[in-house]
């Protein structure tokens, strides 16, 4: 199980912070990281250089850093574990909202992939954390839907393949960007409804428009246009994103 180049907890915290501040795509400057983690700018710079050398971020002095593909993968995973734990603490253990964040922060680094999956199944594949803000990233297992993950419950986590590409929710696509459906999160009903509307794995989806105030997303799929409510759109993940 032990990973030879396992990151330290501290490094994971950095990647997580970069992910949160940069929304997973933008460059983040040193000062906002130092503010967020309450460490001196000097030690932030030092750490970013270290992460750059390991290939998790690309850092340029005075301009800050952004995540590489590999860094993004790890950052998403940690963020996901954090948010799943928050849900678990809040929904199941009934711990007060203001205390869950700090506890999840400590537990996230030790949660195994196997427990992460079991937790997700127990909580019925949640898509948002308790404060209902940012969506929970999708898992990195090579399932096409949650149903498949539940069906193969007994299968060992080691046997389940990992995704070789980062997948993104269609709410994170810009207008005019397209990608291929890789994963749909949610219960049986939602998945069936989406499949009937032609949103099957491998189909190309192009985002036409995203309504303001967390409104629906309009997509072009199979020669027609569909409006998907924000929650449903959050749970449709695509890969190979490109601008047309």
């Amino acid at each position: 199980m032990a990973n030879s180049d396992r990151l330290s907890e501290n490094m994971e915290e950095y990647l997580e912070t970069l992910y949160r501040l940069g929304q997973g795509k933008e460059r983040v400057n040193t000062s906002s990281i130092s503010e967020n983690l309450s460490v001196t700018p000097a030690s932030v710079t030092q750490m970013l250089k270290k992460l750059d050398k390991k290939g998790y971020v690309s850092y340029s002095p005075y301009r800050g850093a952004d995540l590489t593909d590999e860094g993004l993968r790890i950052a998403k995973k940690i963020t996901r574990k954090h948010k799943l734990l928050e849900r678990f603490l809040y929904d199941i253990l009934k711990i007060k909202k203001d205390r869950i964040h700090r506890q999840a922060c400590e537990m996230e680094h030790t949660l195994s992939d196997e427990s992460e999956r079991a937790l997700c199944q127990l909580l019925e594949h949640p898509d948002r954390c308790p404060d209902n803000s940012k969506p929970i990233p999708a898992c990195d297992l090579s399932f096409s839907s949650c149903e498949e993950c539940i069906k193969g419950k007994e299968s060992d986590i080691g046997e389940v393949g990992k995704r070789n590409q980062n997948i993104v929710s269609i709410i994170d696509l810009k207008e005019g960007e397209k990608g291929k459906v890789a994963f749909i999160r949610g219960g049986h009903k939602v998945i069936r409804r989406l499949l009937d509307m032609g949103i099957t794995v491998g189909t190309t989806i192009r985002v036409i428009k995203s309504a303001p105030f967390a409104g629906p997303v309009e997509i072009a799929v199979r020669g027609s246009k569909l409006a998907l409510g924000r929650t449903i759109a959050t749970n449709v993940f695509v890969e190979g994103v490109e601008m047309i």
Binding site: E147, D196, M197, T200, P216, E218, K225, A227
Partner: protein, 662 residues
């Protein structure tokens, strides 16, 4: 399997619901939402099904008749669906209709401009092995989008007749009927083209089909379709087969597992993807997409879903429809009233011969009907039909989705709510486009507060005429706020997970003049036929009651509420009782008793409070009836009581606040 029938008579054992006879045929129109089924249905049968450019208008089957070349044909318009899985009532209803009633021909109407999605449903009809005729509608829209469909090629690929049509202009419908009759006469016209799925899936479907065949279960459905549905894990079919043979279920489970092992996806998803892949392949073969310039419709689309202008247009649709009705109605109404005054001033008559009293009342009813219904109802429905027909409602639903979440609904619920401006009854019926009973209840509750045309008449007749237009408009704004606030409260009372929005956005259309006028007439007609007699009889009845002094005791019984709490004159008691039948009665009775010069009887505050209370206090009797029919007695009672409570509270507060203002 295929029975060859001579002429156009179906074999009688196939069709036990039809009363028989020689030249009878039953045809069913099936297809996706908003492809033009109802337009074709209307054109063929001369019926007046309501049509419009938004998905889900036809929520229940409609039936009509037509005579064509000596055949007596019954046409069934099925609700628009995307699939035969059983997640919505419409899907189940359509599937069972086709399977059990076995129409002689199923006409699959497809939108030629969205071929791939539509063919997905065509493939499912083919799986059901129905005698199929495909109607490739909206060929013109497709052309405008730069899509040319080769219908000959499509015909070869599907093995069923394909007829291109432009239904709104009636083009191709004669050819469509010819094809239908031909298929009805000779089902071999529809070749049993078996569209094959990928080998891993196809082989297992065939294996399961022949196993089911060997078991001789005597099922209504085609065997291959049963096999596919079993592999898809369809709950209804599984239940049906389990009761007959456990072995079949065991085999289907193990075959499904094999498919899942190969594809690493749930079996239903695999079959689904296969079906779409096939649809996509056929669509690719038969259509040519030329380079498309951005059409006017696209530009318009960008404007009405723009992050700023989108809200402007949405507000115009939501508020402007009311404003338009109001301003135009006001103008027409005063013109008409003057005209009537010229002939004979309407003054109540409370003494003299009974016949004379009643006649006077009845005449008042006629005048009220003409001066109230025609000026408001016609302009309103004219505009509503244009809005419906253009396709803008889906854009408004798109823009307002997040706002609707505040009352626990998604954007699509706004469509019936806007229809509720006309009449609450069809609007509540229209909530069937929503996915769950809970959402339908929430929407129906909100609709019972929507300012329907009857409420508009009350607001206008009382407030706009005798207080000011500004106050009348303020009442609408207050009403929209009340909907929002009470919607929030209802959401607290009925918590639950909201279903997300999944809605097809169809292209814009220029509303067709003939559709708009026809539809406006259909809607106005039904009101005229229903309401005029009620107005006339009701008006005469009340004047009679008044003359015989029956009203007094009722009014004084209700006076603690009407006079004490709401500050209204005593007569309000009887007004509100009659208003339950139809809200306009509040105004009508008042005129029947006091004549048109109401300013002598009520103060400005009383006008406003009476209109406000009248607007809120109870859904009218037809609305209550539809609530009972759709949801049962208990929810209908609760909604009605909630209306009453809100009217009493808000009316009482308004009386006290307004007394300070005036």
């Amino acid at each position: 399997m295929t029975k060859l029938t001579s002429h156009c008579s179906p074999s009688s054992e196939d069709n036990n619901t039809w009363e028989g006879g020689d030249n009878h045929l039953t045809i069913a129109m099936a297809g996706n939402a908003n492809v033009g089924k109802s337009v074709i249905f209307n054109e063929l049968t001369g019926s007046s099904q309501i049509i419009g450019n938004w998905p889900g208008k036809t929520v229940e089957m409609a039936r009509g008749r037509l005579h064509f070349e000596g055949c007596d044909i019954e046409v069934i318009d099925l609700p628009g669906i995307y699939s035969f899985s059983t997640f919505s009532l419409e899907e189940l209803v359509s599937r069972e209709y086709i399977a059990f009633e076995k129409p002689d021909v199923v006409v699959n109407v497809i939108d030629a401009s969205v071929l791939e999605r539509n063919l997905y449903f065509t493939l499912q009809l083919m799986e059901m092995e129905v005698p199929l005729v495909v109607c490739a509608n909206q060929i013109d829209t497709a052309m405008r989008k730069g899509i040319v469909v080769d219908t000959e090629k499509l015909q070869t690929a599907l093995g069923a007749p394909v007829v291109p049509t432009v239904a709104v202009r009636g083009e191709g419908l004669h050819e469509l009927m010819d094809a239908i009759i031909e298929v009805a006469k000779d089902r071999s016209k529809v070749k049993k083209t078996r569209l094959k799925y990928g080998a891993e899936v196809e082989n297992r479907i065939e294996k399961l089909t022949s196993f089911i065949k060997s078991k001789k279960l005597g099922l209504e459905y085609p065997l291959r379709w049963i096999a596919i549905k079993l592999l898809e894990n369809d709950p209804e079919i599984k239940k049906l087969v389990t009761s007959k043979s456990e072995e079949v279920i065991r085999l289907s489970n193990s075959l499904a597992r094999e498919i899942e092992d190969i594809h690493k996806e749930p079996c239903f998803a695999v079959i689904n993807s296969e079906r779409y892949a096939l649809a996509s392949r056929i669509a690719g073969e038969v259509q040519k997409q030329s380079d498309m310039e951005i059409t006017f419709s696209e530009r318009l689309d960008q404007l009405v879903t723009h992050r700023v202008f989108g809200y402007v247009t949405s507000s115009i649709v939501i508020g402007g429809l009311l404003l338009w009705t109001f301003l135009i109605g006001n103008l027409l109404s005063s013109l008409l009233s003057e005209l009537f005054n010229f002939f004979q001033p309407v003054n109540p008559q409370v003494s003299g011969a009974i016949v004379s009293i009643l006649w006077n009342g009845a005449f008042g009813g006629i005048v009220a009907g003409i001066t109230l219904i025609i000026p408001f109802v016609i302009p309103f429905y004219l505009m509503l039909t244009m809005i419906e027909d253009s396709g803008i409602l889906t854009r408004v639903a798109f823009m307002m989705d997040s706002a609707m979440h505040k009352i626990g609904l998604h954007g699509k619920a706004l469509i019936p709510l806007i229809l509720g401006y006309g009449c609450n009854v069809p609007a509540i019926y229209g909530t069937r486009i929503l996915e769950t009973r809970r959402e339908r209840l929430l929407a129906a509750f909100a609709i019972t507060f929507a300012p329907c045309s009857a409420r508009t008449i009350v607001i206008l007749g009382l407030v706009a005429v005798f207080v000011s237009i500004k106050w009348a408009l303020a009442l609408y704004v207050i009403d929209l706020f009340i909907i929002l606030i009470l919607g929030r409260i209802a959401l607290k009372a009925l918590p639950g997970e909201a279903t997300g929005l999944i809605m097809e956005m169809h292209s814009f259309k220029v509303p067709s003049l003939s559709v708009v006028t026809k539809q406006t007439w259909t809607r106005t007609k039904s009101i005229v036929y229903l309401v005029f007699p009620i107005y006339i009889v009701g008006s005469a009845f009340v004047q009679g009651l008044y003359a015989f002094g029956v009203l007094g005791p009722i009014n004084s019984f209700m006076s603690p509420l009407t006079v004490g709490w709401l500050g209204l004159p005593e007569i309000a008691g009887i007004l509100l009782i009659f208003g339950v039948i139809r809200k306009e009665f509040i105004l009508l009775m008042l005129v029947a008793i006091y004549g048109t010069n109401l300013a002598a009887v009520l103060t400005p505050v009383q006008f406003i409070v009476l209109a406000l209370v009248g607007m809120l206090y109870i859904p009218c009797i037809s609305t209550i009836a539809i609530l009972v029919k759709e949801f049962g007695w208990k929810p209908a009672t609760i909604i009605s009581l909630a209306n009453l409570a809100s009217a009493i509270v808000i009316g009482g507060i308004a009386f006290r606040v307004l007394t300070l203002v005036f």
